[in-house]
């Protein structure tokens, strides 16, 4: 039976009620189960998104070879063993859409917000478990539509994940812009609704459901990061929804929001007065905050993991919070740096350069704080901690090239070249994944009561970390040589053909890295059942999630909720018996609360 939180949580006591398999595991209202559901869905989508990248990278490495095997498997995408150009465009479009929205937004936030927020603030569950479950199931509905769009008869959407009109609005300009694009738009609309539902819950829970003693400045940085992520999403996603609505109207009702003076195949079309640039403004108003929605939770996870495994407080806790706030606010002021050469008023180009370069400051503060957290720590090496360190490296690499692109002048040279691909993959496509991996390895014992296999974790890390650099670092060179992105092959241009060998290497490494992820997936599912049983607090961490019974119970704590007396970073505090003091431990006589 499905029951709501209001009716059953009397006096905040854990409440037991009869459950069927369906209500316990499928339509569960429990945040711990919903978190796993998001994780499994994300893993499935990541495999599909990764597979698409293997396919299109195969095309880029060997553009003149035929692949009869691939044609047998994916017959609509290949002709005579060669990938069709519109199928290539569809693959890159769906790869971007899947990875950005379904894996790095829904799954990253969905998994960790659901896992960590109620636990780490000392709540029984989210403010509205019903809304939480709805958010997941609408995400699944969105996934069904998105999967359907991949198999649309005339072609999957192929206008890029950025779906600029007129290409995305007019099926006559690209076959994938017919039914495929319609399904994509429905999927994204549902996705936005799902994400908004989640965000509403997370914010309200954090502000209203904290346990006694848990002031805002005693929350771990993982919760702070998820809090700001939800705020950004709440304000930014609706604008994408409005862009999608206007695009749907242009496509289906003949309005001219984004279309004007169009001639396709020699025939003028009856649209006038619209502007494609308007779409770009509305899209990037979400599009830019979106990448911060992706990276902020990863940053929060990494702050936690580095502190715990270094046995040291995070350096500059308050500075970390204010830099998160700074990133949150500034992320709304930089969107048009994606549009420097779009034809918008050059004056705007100057304005957006200023804000874009300034947003580097809070990001760099965070990097310096992480480095200082490691300094003079007692750093435990395990898969979680090294993925967190890998995150810092990748964030530095990807973030610094953002400075190049943030200058509108330099962007004239580098816009839409492989340099941009290198930048966003390092900082988002790999760093955010590393944050996710660190989070999974670290909180696996909390999710399943068992430990993951370390050796597989190290192999996973080593190959993925080195592989990521081998794949994306050379793309900087391609960009600096002027090679444009979203090209099906480079043979038509002498200027762009210098990297044939390098493209082969990149593809081979991509395939190896893709296969390596299955080691992680195997490790994950195998350890769920056969991993070493985890103790109550395997990492000797201070936060509340480790005080809840390992097997996971409804309502999280038997009896009363825990009471908090200190911040979460009392690691190696002088005068303490152990190298950590749990948040629930009262202050000793004369002890001053730190931070």
């Amino acid at each position: 039976m499905v029951t709501s939180a209001i009716e059953n949580n009397i006096d905040g006591q854990a409440h037991h009620h009869t459950e069927t398999f369906i209500s316990k595991y499928i339509f569960s209202l429990d945040h711990k189960i919903i978190s796993r559901q998001f994780l499994f869905a994300g893993m499935a989508w990541a495999v599909l998104g990764g597979l698409l990248s293997v396919l299109f990278r195969t095309q880029l490495a060997w553009p003149n070879e035929t692949f009869p095997v691939l044609e047998t498997l994916f017959s609509t995408w290949y002709t005579d063993g060669i990938l069709k150009p519109e199928a290539y465009n569809a693959m890159i479009t769906m790869h971007g859409t899947i990875m950005i929205f379904f894996v790095l937004t829904a799954s990253l936030t969905g998994t960790f917000a659901n896992l960590l927020v109620p636990f780490q603030i000392g709540a029984r569950d989210m403010a509205s478990p019903l809304l939480n479950a709805l958010s997941f199931w609408i995400f699944i509905l969105a996934s069904v539509f998105m999967l359907a769009s991949l198999f649309a008869p005339d072609g999957a959407p192929s206008a890029g994940w950025t779906v600029y009109p007129p290409l995305s609005a007019l099926p006559q300009t690209s076959p994938g812009s017919g039914l495929g694009m319609t399904l994509w738009l429905i999927a994204i609309a549902l996705f936005i609704i799902s994400t908004l539902m989640g965000g509403l819950n997370y914010i309200s829970t954090i502000l209203n459901m904290r346990t006694k003693g848990m002031t805002m400045y005693r929350m771990p940085l993982s919760v702070w990061a998820l809090f700001f992520t939800a705020i950004v999403g709440l304000l930014a996603f609706p604008v994408l929804l409005s862009a999608a609505v206007l695009l749907i109207f242009d496509r289906g009702l003949g309005t001219s929001f984004f279309l004007s003076n169009i001639v396709v195949g020699g025939s003028p079309l009856p649209y006038s007065g619209g502007s494609p640039i308007l779409f770009q403004h509305l899209f990037w108003f979400l599009g830019h905050p979106e990448v911060y929605i992706i990276i902020l939770p990863a940053m929060g996870i990494v702050s936690e993991v580095l502190a715990i495994h270094s046995r040291k407080p995070v350096f500059g806790y308050k500075a970390m919070i204010f830099s998160l706030l700074g990133i949150t606010i500034m992320s709304f002021l930089v969107w048009a740096h994606h549009m420097f050469v779009s034809g918008m008023n050059p004056f705007l180009g100057g304005v957006f350069t200023v804000f874009t370069l300034l947003i580097a400051i809070p990001s760099s503060i965070k990097v310096f704080n992480w480095l200082t957290t490691l300094w003079r720590g007692n750093f435990h090496i395990n898969p979680a901690s090294i993925f967190a360190v890998g995150f810092v490296s990748l964030f530095i690499s990807g973030g610094l090239t953002g400075i190049w692109l943030g200058s509108s002048t330099v962007d004239i040279r580098l816009h839409d070249t492989y340099f941009v691909i290198a930048h966003f993959h390092l900082v988002m496509g790999v760093a955010a994944f590393f944050g996710m991996f660190a989070g999974v390895y670290h909180w696996f014992p909390r999710m399943f009561g068992r430990m993951m296999n370390n050796t597989m974790g190290y192999i996973h890390f080593g190959i993925t970390f080195v592989g990521a650099y081998l794949i994306f670092w050379p793309m900087h060179f391609m960009g600096l040589s002027g090679v444009p992105r979203r090209y099906y092959h480079f043979n038509e241009f002498d200027a762009f053909s210098q990297y044939a060998n390098m493209n082969v290497i990149i593809t081979v490494v991509t395939i190896i890295v893709f296969i390596t992820q299955f080691i992680f997936i195997f490790n994950f599912f195998h350890s769920m059942y056969f991993g070493k049983k985890a103790p109550q607090n395997p990492w000797n961490a201070t936060t509340l999630e480790w005080t809840s019974p390992v097997e996971g119970i409804h309502g999280n704590w038997e009896g009363d909720l825990p009471v908090v007396h200190r911040w979460p970073y009392d690691y190696s505090k002088p005068g303490a018996d152990e190298d950590f003091i749990a948040q629930t431990t009262p202050l000793k006589e004369g002890e001053i609360e730190s931070h």
Binding site: S4, A5, I6, E7, N9, I10, D11, G12, R124, A127, S128, L131, L196, G199, L200, N201, I203, S204, T205, L207, N208, M209, R210, T211, K212, G213, L234, L235, A236, F237, P238, V239, L241, S242, A243, V245, L246, F249, L253, G254, T255, S256, F257, P270, S272, G273, G274, S275, L278, H281, L282, F285, L561
Partner: protein
């Protein structure tokens, strides 16, 4: 926050907070539409205005009246007068229906005046259309919940069951609170949109 409040009361407050956040995010959708409107108008070119008060004034009056009936339902609920509350909720729902009807007739009138959304060399009607339609969709979803609430209240009244299943639970009150917040937002949003369109269209 006051930690001495029972968990459950905090949770009810949390639900209301969720409604506030949902209202904020809904505002952002309309912010997107209204800024697109202003950008397009500012870019020059063909643009014919229209006096919207001649078309949607009745709708405006109806939706404001429905906020009053909603308030009545809210107060009646607080006082425990289930029958009256149920009736007032239903009346609010009926006002919603009337609102939608007058929106429809307003549109028929506009299209007859040559103010139609698609294929029109004048771009202003398409913005008007989108804004009004999306607001109407919000109103329709609110109406669905209004109907459910009024039916449930009525059935509870008829069933002679105790009003409250548990002395500490107050589902009905919270439900009406949330509905009432949403419905007043519909009215205020319409006022803003009406005013915006009146001045800028």
């Amino acid at each position: 926050m006051d930690y001495s409040l029972k968990y459950q009361e905090r949770n009810q407050g949390a639900h209301k907070f969720i409604m506030w956040l949902a209202i904020a995010s809904s505002c952002m959708i309309f912010a997107g539409f209204t800024s697109a409107f202003l950008v397009r108008k500012g870019a020059g070119g063909a643009w014919t205005g229209f006096d919207i008060s001649s078309v949607f004034s009745i709708s405006t009056f109806i939706i404001l009246f429905s906020s009053a009936t909603m308030l009545v339902a809210h107060i009646a609920n607080k006082k425990g007068n289930l029958g009256f509350a149920s009736f007032a909720l239903f009346l609010t729902f009926a006002c919603g229906l009337l609102f939608c009807y007058f929106q429809y007739t307003g549109w028929v009138y506009l299209t007859n005046q040559g103010f139609y959304p698609a294929g029109n060399p004048n771009p202003s009607p398409q913005f008007l259309f989108v804004i009004v339609i999306i607001h109407a969709i919000h109103v329709l979803s609110g109406m669905l919940f209004l109907l459910i609430a009024s039916v449930k209240s009525f059935m509870l009244l008829k069933s002679d069951k105790q009003l409250v299943v548990n002395p500490n639970s107050n589902v009905l009150q919270v439900r009406t609170d949330l509905l009432s917040m949403y419905w007043h937002f519909m009215g205020i949003l319409w006022l803003y949109l009406f005013g915006f369109l009146y001045f800028f269209l």
